[in-house]
């Protein structure tokens, strides 16, 4: 089943045409990496999927519903996100944030279970802004999982994290994907992560979809790694 369908998506900021006719599909259970150089339109594309950015032309269908013809709250219940950087109320503690977002999502998830699953016990009484970058991303992911989303959108989730925190974050993402069959769409500049964890890759270049293929397909076409594929396809 298609969770996301995008047809001929266009978006401009004033005279700057950022997206020039993107086509994209994501099916249930897929992990898809969106790559491209800075300014390629990755974040704009994700923000449109998050339903927080207007677009100029094209169609965006999430969970079989056109987002311009559906109440967004209905769609947002099924989406969770981790932004870069994710910010929450700075004067709330981790446990309080979890409780607040639990009420937003009207979730039945047990807060203590989430705290335990994400190893947040030592941090639950800390203010969000006092956490390190890595733990902020872990808390963001824990909050994202409160809703048990069908679609998880991650904008550069591992940027600035040390290898241990990166591994930890990915272990949660892949576990979620395996356990729930949820779809994950993310942007990253780390091609190793794309190769290790993503089923498909979409390369954006100058606002267009230059390549949209499986990771295995890209490697089978003669590239020794996704990193090399990126370097050959994208020029500075």
């Amino acid at each position: 089943m298609n969770i996301v369908e995008v047809h001929n998506l266009e978006k401009a900021y004033g005279t700057n045409q950022v997206l020039r006719g993107i086509n994209f599909q994501a099916q249930a259970g897929e992990i898809i990496g969106v790559i491209g150089k800075n300014g390629a339109g990755k974040s704009t594309f994700l923000e449109i999927l998050m339903t927080i950015q207007k677009y100029d032309a094209g169609h965006v269908v999430l969970f079989q519903k056109d987002i311009q013809k559906t109440k967004l709250d209905q769609i947002r219940k099924q989406i969770s996100v981790v932004l870069q950087p994710t910010q929450f109320y700075k004067t709330l503690k981790v446990e309080e944030l979890l409780k607040l977002f639990k009420s937003y999502y009207q979730s039945n998830v047990n807060i203590h279970q989430i705290i335990s699953d994400f190893q947040l016990e030592p941090h639950r009484k800390k203010y969000f802004e006092k956490l390190s970058g890595g733990w902020k991303q872990i808390v963001s992911l824990a909050i994202a999982f409160l809703s048990e989303p069908k679609l998880l959108i991650l904008d550069e989730p591992t940027t600035g994290l040390d290898p241990h925190m990166r591994n930890m974050l990915w272990s949660y993402i892949t576990a979620y994907n395996t356990r729930t069959g949820g779809t994950v769409i993310l942007t990253t500049h780390n091609m190793e992560e794309i190769e290790m964890y993503c089923d498909k890759v979409m390369l954006l270049n100058n606002g267009k979809t230059e390549v949209f293929d499986t990771t295995a397909g890209i490697l089978a076409s003669g590239f020794v790694s996704v990193h090399e594929f990126y370097l050959q396809k994208v020029t500075i």
Binding site: T51, L72, D73, Y89, K90, T91, Y104
Partner: protein
């Protein structure tokens, strides 16, 4: 969900030292301090210090709560990305706004009670049930006016630093040209002219009149009410325009 949001909104307010100092601490201390200096004087309308400055300092608290903890807070949430993250959650914007408004009214009502008690204990303020009830009703209307003006003004800010500088500057201007700390009549002419454009000056005059049972529909009152009504209308238009720029 509203009660949960309100609980955390109040908790966040209580943890923000900047808000606490400017709302709960500075105005009551200034009210006490000014009372010690000028408590024996008689003011416009043959009113004493408590009759003139109790409603004024209630307005000061209302202004600081609404402009700092409501208006500036909105800019802070917007510029730090909190608003963006919340906007992706399935939570009604109206519910969040309602919680902010209730929080502001709770805090300003606390200010109303606090200043009234200080006035009663320190400056022989007379508290009559119906008069205080009428004043509180009018105070809620002034709350609504300030909330609308603050929403409109702060909707234009995209940077926290500029909003902070604006807030601090406007605080000084509003206090001095609003007749909230000193009578406008003793100020230089140009301040008296500026005061006419200050909505707090008009609110203050109206509130003092209502507080002391002197409210009459004379030309000055009609001008003040009309001026505030025009500002509210303009603010509504601004809010509407800004709202259309946002999605969902």
């Amino acid at each position: 969900m509203l009660l949960t949001q309100l609980k955390y909104d109040l908790l966040m307010f209580s943890r923000e030292l900047f808000y606490l100092v400017f709302t709960i601490l500075v105005p009551p201390v200034t009210y006490l301090f000014m009372g010690q200096l000028f408590g024996d004087q008689t003011y416009s309308g043959n009113l004493n210090y408590a009759e003139t400055y109790t409603p004024s300092f209630i307005l000061v608290i209302t202004f600081t709560v609404v402009f700092f903890a409501f208006g500036f807070d909105q800019v802070m949430q917007r510029t730090t990305g909190v608003e963006k993250r919340i906007s992706i959650s399935p939570v009604s914007k109206n519910m969040l706004l309602l919680s902010s408004i209730i929080r502001a009214i709770i805090m300003t009502s606390f200010g109303f009670i606090l200043i009234s008690i200080i006035g009663f204990l320190m400056y022989d303020l007379e508290i009559r049930f119906w008069s205080i009830l009428l004043s509180y009703g009018f105070f809620i209307i002034l709350n609504a006016v300030m909330l609308i003006l603050a929403s409109a003004i702060y909707s234009f800010f995209q940077r926290m630093n500029s909003a902070l500088v604006f807030s601090i500057v406007i605080f000084q201007v509003i206090i001095f040209t609003g007749g909230l700390a000193m009578p406008i009549k003793v100020m230089p002419n140009f301040i008296q002219v500026i005061a006419k454009f200050n909505p707090l000056y008009h609110m203050n005059n109206l509130f003092i009149a209502v507080w002391n049972g002197h409210f009459t529909m004379d030309s000055q009152t009609v001008f003040s009410v009309g001026y505030l009504a025009v500002l509210v209308l303009v603010a509504f238009i601004c809010i509407r325009i800004q709202h259309k720029r946002k999605i969902g």
